[in-house]
């Protein structure tokens, strides 16, 4: 394996690490804001389940990511540029405390690099269509499931007037829902990096074009995202856990369970979805069971704008990087 390939794998794993760092908030925001776990306990819990996901889910999402660009188009410089664009976009949004999607940054980044290298025809329309549809569907699914679960809980426990007792019960249940969500997060997000490394190994003829993801890549990607979660980003915890709507243990349980179900469904179907979008939709869903005004729509709107700008933003950064590299190396 050449030094370049090893270096780019290092960058891809660094992206995965930063993905865990950036998205740690999604897994633990509700657990921390409802004081079920301390921040340190919560990140350790989430990191463990991020890693454990490798044993449960396949690599269908990795296959989708590796097919976003036509086979044979990407070279080492383009893959590096794609990762660079995604990382830069993640850093920008992390700096402003916006819970945007690392996944869509990666897709936008790879697309920008591929277009700079070989034009628009290098993109596979069907794969983009699948990803684009789920940009809208995944938060909506999280929203609907969370509302349904939360309303179901209210209906089941409507005679349960001891608020503290009920919330105490859901404090414990939240450990399970946070674990489920972290499993889904690890499974879907780690596979995006696996897809990039798979594309890199195929581009360098280290693997045949129809190869599946090698085990060492699976383990490396899950380790990177788990470690990233362990060092989690606290700015976004604040936005997710308190600013969108105030979350109680019963709401945290509903939001995490709903988001976990939506993400696991997408993972099994091979669709790379944003864990950030999904949990945000679910948190809004639980807020809506109280009243629409419980949701701070100004903050939610700011988040939506950051989502809309993610793919174009990462696309532009990667396109510029790839165009500059082409000029330097020509």
């Amino acid at each position: 394996m050449t030094v370049t390939v090893v270096a780019i794998i290092g960058v891809a794993l660094a992206f995965d690490f930063f993905n865990g760092f950036h998205d740690a908030a999604n897994s633990i925001a509700t657990v921390v804001s409802t004081r079920v776990l301390t921040p340190k306990q919560a990140v350790a819990w989430a990191a463990f389940w991020n890693f454990a996901a490798f044993a449960i889910f396949g690599t269908a999402v990795a296959a989708t990511i590796s097919k976003v660009v036509q086979p044979g188009v990407l070279n080492n410089a383009a893959i590096f540029s794609g990762l660079f664009g995604a990382i830069v976009w993640d850093i920008i949004t992390w700096f402003f405390g916006l819970p945007t999607s690392s996944s869509h940054a990666l897709v936008g980044g790879m697309a920008g690099a591929a277009v700079a290298l070989s034009g628009w025809t290098s993109l596979v329309a069907e794969e983009f269509q699948k990803i684009a549809v789920f940009i809208v569907l995944s938060p909506l699914l999280g929203f609907l499931l969370a509302f349904t679960i939360m309303t179901g809980i209210f209906w089941l426990f409507h005679r349960y007037h001891k608020v503290e007792k009920l919330n105490r019960g859901f404090r414990r249940a939240q450990l399970v829902s946070a674990a489920l969500f972290s499993l889904g997060h690890g499974a879907n997000d780690a596979q995006k990096t696996m897809g990039i490394i798979l594309a890199l190994l195929i581009a360098n003829h280290r693997l045949p074009i129809d190869a599946s993801v090698p085990l060492w890549v699976v383990l490396a990607a899950h380790s990177a995202i788990g470690l990233g979660t362990l060092f989690g980003g606290w700015r976004i915890v604040h936005t997710m856990g308190t600013k969108i709507t105030k979350v109680q243990p019963v709401g945290g349980f509903s939001a995490e369970t709903a988001a976990a179900a939506a993400i696991m469904l997408a993972t099994l179907g091979g669709v790379p979805v944003s864990t950030t979008h999904t949990i945000t939709g679910a948190i809004v869903g639980t807020g809506t069971t109280q009243r629409l005004s419980a949701v701070r729509w100004g903050v939610a709107g700011r988040v939506v704008w950051a989502w809309i700008l993610t793919i174009p933003g990462a696309f532009i950064v990667s396109y510029s990087m790839e165009a500059a590299l082409k000029r330097v190396w020509r």
Partner: protein, 76 residues
């Protein structure tokens, strides 16, 4: 007949799910259909609830006896 914001919110979610059927790959149509079903179900339920003027509706100000009683929790 007029609806409040919450039923309309779910109606919009259902309509979006149906509209997205066209660009969604056929293998995932069941996701759209399920989502639309859930959204329209809650649209109808919330519309009925509003129509009845049920005092227990979650749109009412929270009391202390609800599990999501934020104000009640805060006071403690």
């Amino acid at each position: 007949m007029t609806f409040g914001r919450r039923p309309l919110f779910f109606l919009a979610a259902g309509v979006i799910s149906v509209l997205l059927l066209a660009p969604t790959p056929e293998t995932f149509w069941w996701v759209n259909v399920t989502m639309a079903g859930i959204a329209f179900f809650w649209f109808v339920m919330l519309a009925i609830e509003e129509g009845q003027g049920d005092r227990d509706t979650p749109d009412e100000p929270r009391g202390k006896g609800r599990p999501d009683d934020l104000e009640g929790e805060d006071r403690r």
